[in-house]
Symmetry: C2
Subunit: 162 residues, 2 copies
Amino acid sequence: MVSANQIKAKQVDAEIIKQRTRLWLKMLKTTRGIENELRRKLQQKFDTTLPRFDVMAALYRSETGMNMSALSKALMVSNGNVTGIVERLVSEGLLLRLQGKEDRRVMLIRLTIKGQELFEKMAIEHRVWVDQLFSQFDFDDTKELMDSFEKIQESELSSNEK
Amino acid sequence: MVSANQIKAKQVDAEIIKQRTRLWLKMLKTTRGIENELRRKLQQKFDTTLPRFDVMAALYRSETGMNMSALSKALMVSNGNVTGIVERLVSEGLLLRLQGKEDRRVMLIRLTIKGQELFEKMAIEHRVWVDQLFSQFDFDDTKELMDSFEKIQESELSSNEK
DNA sequence: AATATATATTTTAAGTTTGAAGTATGTTGC
DNA sequence: GCAACATACTTCAAACTTAAAATATATATT
């Protein structure tokens, strides 16, 4: 026998599932919008691409350099992907690739001086662009949103185990 | 002359800018994580790709079909991109492409019966996956997050004008 | 030491993505 | 009508991206 309450509960379940799906779509669309915007401006002002910028940004944040695995993990992209982008940046004289000493499998990637200088120029503008996109959020808002994303990432972790 | 208050204000400014940049990085990383997760599962369970699924999802939501421009706007990807994905889906018998009658430039894209049936099967699982990823958020949380993304999109709009 | 296993990275093929140029069709102003 | 412009879409080249296979090196087991 199915009670009225059980029927009601199912409707509420269906509603929240729909809502969460809508939220994901919105999140995806918003993120793509920001990426498109940043990509367009990076192209226009610095004649470079978003993936190149992202790699340089990750390297700039780390003082000592990063190996390929760390880079691909930080950017959430595949291993082979990083190989190509790093290659292009090396050939442009923006990155340095050094073979590990104790472990000769690992590659240590670092910005060259030229790379550092270019990145610093780009970062100044980039910060302004991002700051404007998120200008509606004050310090507390950003902390709350940060927490929300943190929660999602925790869910990702547990679903990765499967 | 620079007062102590002005110095303080600058420090607060710098802090919030940093915080917003951090927030954007987190948002990007979280979104990529979800995409990777969904991609993996779509591949594993249905031997299909994320862009294919996204196109089918957009078409399923619209009863009457969509033209190429509407599709590319809905998915926030370039026009030429949609052409390729639609082509593959048409060749697999999942989509239909009809030339517009009054305006012969526009292409009306619709799911075939086969496409609808396949999508419905995929959507059932997809909803569960998304529901789990966002399970930490109740109805009110989702509404709040929705509003936050809405705010960002408004900022995107105004920066697009430039 | 030899073998098996694991890890870090690159290579490869297929697919996706962009931005710009090209094609086809519509619309507007003269 | 027709030239100029605008719009919808496709094509193209280059870059990006993934998953899987291949390569090279390290670690563990016997």
